[in-house]
Every structure is written in C-alpha cells, then in structure tokens.
C-alpha cells in the first residue's frame, strides 16, 4: 500500500495505518509460527511500532537501515514486499532471500537494509553505511536499530565513538524494553544510557517510544540535521515487547504455568535450596525471592500492556473521525488478508496468478 503522503508533514492517520499494518501482519506471522509453518525462533516488532514508523517512514532512497533481529516492521514500513517477507519467514525458495536467511537475516540491497542476529552488530553496520553515504550519496543517512541490551556490547560503544569522531550521519535508535533477553538490564548496566551516549559526543534525545507523533517529530528534526552534516544522534525510546523476547518466551510462560512444568521446576529448586555445601540459607532464599519478584513484575507488565503504542492513538483518532478510522482499519485488514493469501499459496499455483 503506497501512500502518496508528503513525508515532511505529520499525519497521524498515516502513522496509525502503518502501525496497524505492522501489527496485523505480525499477528499473522505469530499465527503461522504457532501453526508450525515458520520454523525456529521468531522475534516480533510488536510494541516497537511507534518507534519504527516514526523514524523509518521518513527514510528515502539511498538512506540505509542496520537492523537487529526484529527487522519485520522496519522492512515493512520501508516498503519491502510483505509477501516476499512472509515467504522468507516460512523458508520458501521464492522468499525475499530464497529461504536462506529467515526473519533474523533479512536483506534488501535496493533499500540499503541489512539485518543480523548478533546483538550489537547494527552499530558498526550503520557506521559503515554512513561512511559510504558520506562519500557516495551526500545527504543520505543511516539508522541503527538495537535494544538497550546491545549498548553493553563493545562494538556498539566503538560505533558511537566512530560516528562521533567522524561526524557521520548516523541515527542510533535504542529501543529500550528493560530486558536483555531474560535479564533485567538495570541489574547489569552501569550508569545511564543517555549519559553514556553523551560521553561519546553524540547528541542525545529521549522520547516516549509509545508515542508515534512524538517520535516522528523528533526524527523529523534530527534527520534534517543528519542530512545537513551536523553529526550523529542517539535516540533513546522506551517500549514494550508485547510477545516477550521471542515467541514462546520462557518468562511469559509463567503467565499460564502448566502443572507438570511447575512440578518439573520446583523439585530441583527445593533440592538446591536445602542441599549441603553451598551459599548460606539466607542467600539462597534471597535468590529465590528475587527471581519470584522479577517474574511477577514481568508477568504484570505483560498483562497490563502498558506502552502499547496503538490503543492511545486509536482512541485519539476515533474521537476525531470514527468513520474514517474504521475505513482505514478495513483497508489495512484487506491488504493483510491479500498478503497472507498470496504468501501462503502453494508454490505450484504461483504460475497461475
């Protein structure tokens, strides 16, 4: 669905339609994964849509994207064929990368978009794209997408420095959900990320990752500065991963624990708590309590859905023009239905289209 909207004008209807498009597409990805049609891991962008749409929607030809393992929404918003994406996720030979890469290794040369499953690698990737753009495509920028967990990788910090030292047109986009896979980031991170980025000489901006309009406005200003050669920027945006780190996330299984899984877990824990030779009993209990607390907090956060960027905007638009909203929703739903139908068609029927 190409939208002929002027990208320099804030258009919340357009943002909503793009976010919904990502959301509904990924709901189908989730369904296909649950049905076993998509193998392996599946990291969704669900919950990151405001950040992705607010920024990627303003990229243009020649701009580059260095993506992490959550590349689906950025690829969709950038204009990569959704049918090819979905086929790639299913490992089909007619997928975006011939079934060779899967969802963590998406590549689209024409969009200068490359992704990787190695945490932190989008930093150096964005720096390299920016070096090439500075020489070959002046005025074009690159954007790196990564989680807060990646800011503890040396290569990410080295990239901050490279970009600052060489005044490269890089937007470092840190999507902070507070969890590095299963680990509370705050428990393994020194200082705060804004100060850290400032220390490298990056411009730093904190924005609500659940507010697409706010993200868009900041990105709009910053992309212009990048194009004008004013040097790199670090954008920090908090968000929620609605389906956890990946589908089947161990932490979210505690939301509906099965009896057998619980028994399987509790027996060795009780043993570990009482066996001789080990830490003092007080410490053992403290570890258990700490784990229980963080698990509860995680489940609570997931249930509350606080930070989901879609409902607040929907509410706002609904009060403005409910009919228009419904018509947009129907249009997006129709597009997604068509995509799913085309992507799940058996290979042998393809020629008949």
């Amino acid at each position: 669905m190409e939208n002929p909207i002027n990208p320099s004008v804030l258009d919340s209807w357009h943002f909503y339609s793009q976010m919904l498009r990502c959301r509904l597409f990924e709901k189908q990805v989730m369904r296909l994964w649950q049905e076993g049609a998509i193998p392996g891991e599946m990291h969704l962008s669900m919950g990151e849509e405001a950040i992705v749409v607010g920024i990627v929607d303003q990229l243009e030809d020649g701009d580059a994207m260095a993506l992490d393992h959550r590349g689906t929404a950025p690829m969709l918003v950038r204009g990569v064929d959704p049918v090819l994406l979905l086929k790639e996720f299913m490992g089909r030979p007619d997928g975006l990368c011939g079934g060779m890469g899967g969802h963590m290794h998406l590549f689209s040369p024409e969009h200068h978009a490359a992704s990787s499953g190695i945490v932190g690698s989008s930093g150096p990737a964005a720096v390299g794209f920016a070096i090439a753009n500075q020489r070959l495509r002046p005025g074009k920028i690159s954007a790196a997408f990564f989680g807060e967990g990646a800011t503890n990788e040396g290569m990410m910090l080295e990239s901050f420095n490279l970009a600052a030292a060489w005044k490269l047109p890089v937007m470092f986009v840190c999507k902070d959900n507070g969890l590095a896979v299963m680990t509370q980031s705050a428990s393994v991170t020194g200082g705060n990320l804004m100060d850290r980025a400032k220390g490298f000489g990056l411009r730093t901006i904190d924005v609500n990752g659940g507010d697409v309009e706010a993200v868009w406005e900041i990105a709009n200003k910053e992309i212009t500065r990048l194009r004008n050669g004013e040097g790199p920027v670090f954008v920090h945006a908090c968000c929620l991963h609605m389906e956890g780190h990946f589908l089947g996330d161990q932490l979210l299984r505690f939301e509906h624990p099965s009896m057998s899984a619980t028994i399987k877990m509790v027996i060795p824990l009780v043993k570990a708590h009482v066996q001789s030779k080990g830490a003092p009993l007080r410490e053992r209990t403290a570890v258990l309590m700490e784990t229980l607390g963080s698990t509860r907090e995680n489940v609570r956060k997931h249930r509350s859905k606080e930070g989901d960027p879609i409902p607040p905007l929907r509410k706002k638009l609904s009060s403005m023009d409910a009919e228009k909203l419904i018509s947009i929703e129907e249009q997006v739903q129709k597009e997604i239905d068509t995509i799913i139908q085309q992507a799940t068609m058996p290979v042998e029927q393809m020629g008949e289209q």
């Binding site: 193998p39 891991e41 990787s116 590095a180 161990q250 299984r253 080990g278």
Partner: protein
C-alpha cells in the same frame, strides 16, 4: 544407575563440582534464569548474570582464572563466540606459552552448537574445528548425557582453557527455547540415545583426548562427534543390512585428538569416512586424513560435512547438515569403489 536428560546431566555434574571446589564460578548471559538451581544453591557471588558483553566477560574470565578462580563462562551460542575471539585466540590460548609454562588459565567456555531446528546460519554453526585450530585450546563435544557430565567434570579440573560445546538437538531446554518455543507441531530429528541416558551416581572425569568406539565393524571406520555420531550409528545399521560392517568412533574431544584410536581402527578397516557437522574445508575432516597419512597408511577416505553456510529453510538445512542418507551413500561408494 540414574537416567537423565543431557542438560540435566551437565547441571548435576556442575552441582557436584561446585560443591567440591568453591573456586568454580559461573558467568554468563541469562544464567540467573538458565542456571537458577545452581544460583539458588551457590548464591549470586558464584553464579553471575552478565550483560550481553561477551568480549568483556570472557576476557575477564581469562585473568580471573589466572588469579585463582575456575570460571565457567557461558556464551549462549557458539556463533556468538565471534564477538569474544580475541580473549580466546590471543589471551586464553597464549598465556601458558608466553609465561614459559609458569601461568595457567583454568577456564571453561560453555556454548551450545549445532543445527537441525531451523534457526539459520548465524545460530546453528559448530565451529569446533575452527576453535581447535588454535594451539592452547582444548575443545570437547559430548554426545551422551554420561559424557556430558564426565567431560564437564574433566573440563573444570583441567589446567588450561577448554571450550565445551553442547549440541542443541541433545539439549532439551535449548531446543525447546530456540526451536520449539513450546510448540508441539514442529518436529526435530533428536537422537534419543544422545538426549537421554544413564549417568553415574558420582561423576568421574572422562579423560580429555580419549575417544570411544560406539560400534564395532571391520569394513569401514566412521569417525564422528556430537549429534553426527548418532546419525552414523543409524547409518551403520542400514549399511549392515547391505553387508557392510561399520565401526563408529566418537571422538568426544577435537583437541587433543585421539589419534591412536583412529589409526588403530583405520588400520583394521582400511577405510575412513569422517562425518562432521562442522564446515568441511580446512578443518577436522582434513586433519583426520592428515594424521592417517602421517602414520604412513594408505587408505580410502571420504567425508560428509557441512560444505556451506547453513540455510534457514528446513528442507535446505536438512540437505546441508550431515544426514543418514548422505552417510550411507558415501559409505557405500567408499566400500564399493
């Protein structure tokens, strides 16, 4: 005798080793959850949850080992070891040599390896040959719960750096986390005798560098390790129906290599087929050919390995990783031609 899953056996061995040696500590990503039982028993000072900073914490493990601790560091997937290679290549592997043998680095790097569950070429590599290429590193690849525990005990007692690789098809928790994700409608070809089996009541170290013959035969020697051992045993059963009697060697240790076991078997059969899930070029399969040639033997040789980047597509992945059909075909050619 007790029966355990592969991952349970490792944890059980760790319980024993950590109870006996208070200098063993664990550092790694998500170990607060993955190794919760160990963390509860031994406390947060001995099971340290790390940020995603492989280069930092593996590098730190090197000097922690040099100053009295025995760190076990977990790098979730061996593919991620790329991020931390300097610590292993230029430090862990070199200190003993550089110090004239005066300073040792008793550390273990534990990582999962291997494919067969649809995770793509950046998460399914084996890399043991690449790591074993570096003098100073010991590289272990268990294929049964018994060996998984015994080799972990040996690794922790060893006075140099050890890379300990745990195949994800054998490791229930990892396979469920990365492949199944609590789904029961995706199928994996898990070798049952590798994923679950008998373990001793008290763990004893399995000597490092000692392979084992898993199946006797006179016509052909298959040399293998990890999940491929089980594929080879399956292939041997098929071959026997065709009158080909296959000996299957499980190396268990890539470095040091049990040269005598290989040479002894091959001198009997005159044929060697290497089944190696790691990359074919410049690696273990070539090394095995070299040691046989160096021993002055002239034999028939073939190999079934991973030749290229592992595809994401399950079908292409199956064709790329060593499978029973490829092993049988290669073995028949070796014996008949």
């Amino acid at each position: 005798m007790r029966t355990m899953n592969f991952g349970e056996a490792i944890e059980d061995a760790l319980m024993q080793a950590m109870a006996n040696d208070p200098n063993i500590i664990i550092m790694g990503e998500d170990v607060a959850g993955l190794r919760l039982n160990l963390r509860v028993r031994f406390g947060r000072n001995r099971v340290l949850n790390t940020p995603i900073s492989e280069a930092g914490f593996v590098g730190a493990a090197v000097t922690a080992a040099m100053s009295g601790l025995r760190p076990l560091v977990e790098v979730s997937l061996v593919d991620f070891i790329g991020v931390t290679m300097d610590a292993l290549l230029n430090h862990a592997a070199k200190v003993e040599s550089f110090s004239g043998g005066n300073w040792k680095v008793p550390m273990v790097v534990r990582a999962t390896c291997g494919g067969g569950y649809g995770d793509g070429g950046q998460h399914e590599q084996s890399l043991w040959g690449w790591l074993a290429h570096i003098p100073g590193l010991t590289v272990l690849v268990p294929s049964t719960p018994w060996d998984a525990g015994g080799l972990m005990i040996a690794a922790l007692a060893h006075d140099g750096p050890v890379i300990y690789l745990e195949h994800k098809l054998l490791s229930e928790v990892w396979l469920d986390s990365l492949g199944g994700g609590s789904r029961n409608n995706v199928k994996f070809d898990v070798p049952l005798e590798g994923a679950r089996g008998g373990v001793p009541k008290i763990w004893e170290p399995i000597p490092i560098g000692q392979g084992v013959i898993r199946r006797d035969g006179r016509d052909l020697t298959i040399v293998s390790l990890g999940v491929s051992v089980h594929r080879a045993i399956q292939a041997a059963a098929v071959l026997e129906k065709n009158g080909i009697f296959t000996e299957v060697i499980d190396l268990r240790s890539v470095a040091p290599l049990d040269k005598q076991l290989v040479i002894g078997s091959v001198s009997k059969t005159g044929r060697m087929l290497v089944v190696d899930e790691d990359y074919q070029g410049y690696g273990l399969s070539g090394e095995l050919a070299a040691i046989v040639l160096e021993a002055g033997m002239s034999i028939k040789y073939s190999r079934v390995c991973t030749e290229d980047t592992i595809p994401f597509s399950r079908q292409l992945e199956y064709q790329t990783l060593p499978n029973v059909e490829r092993i049988v075909e290669s073995a028949v050619n070796l014996v008949n031609n």
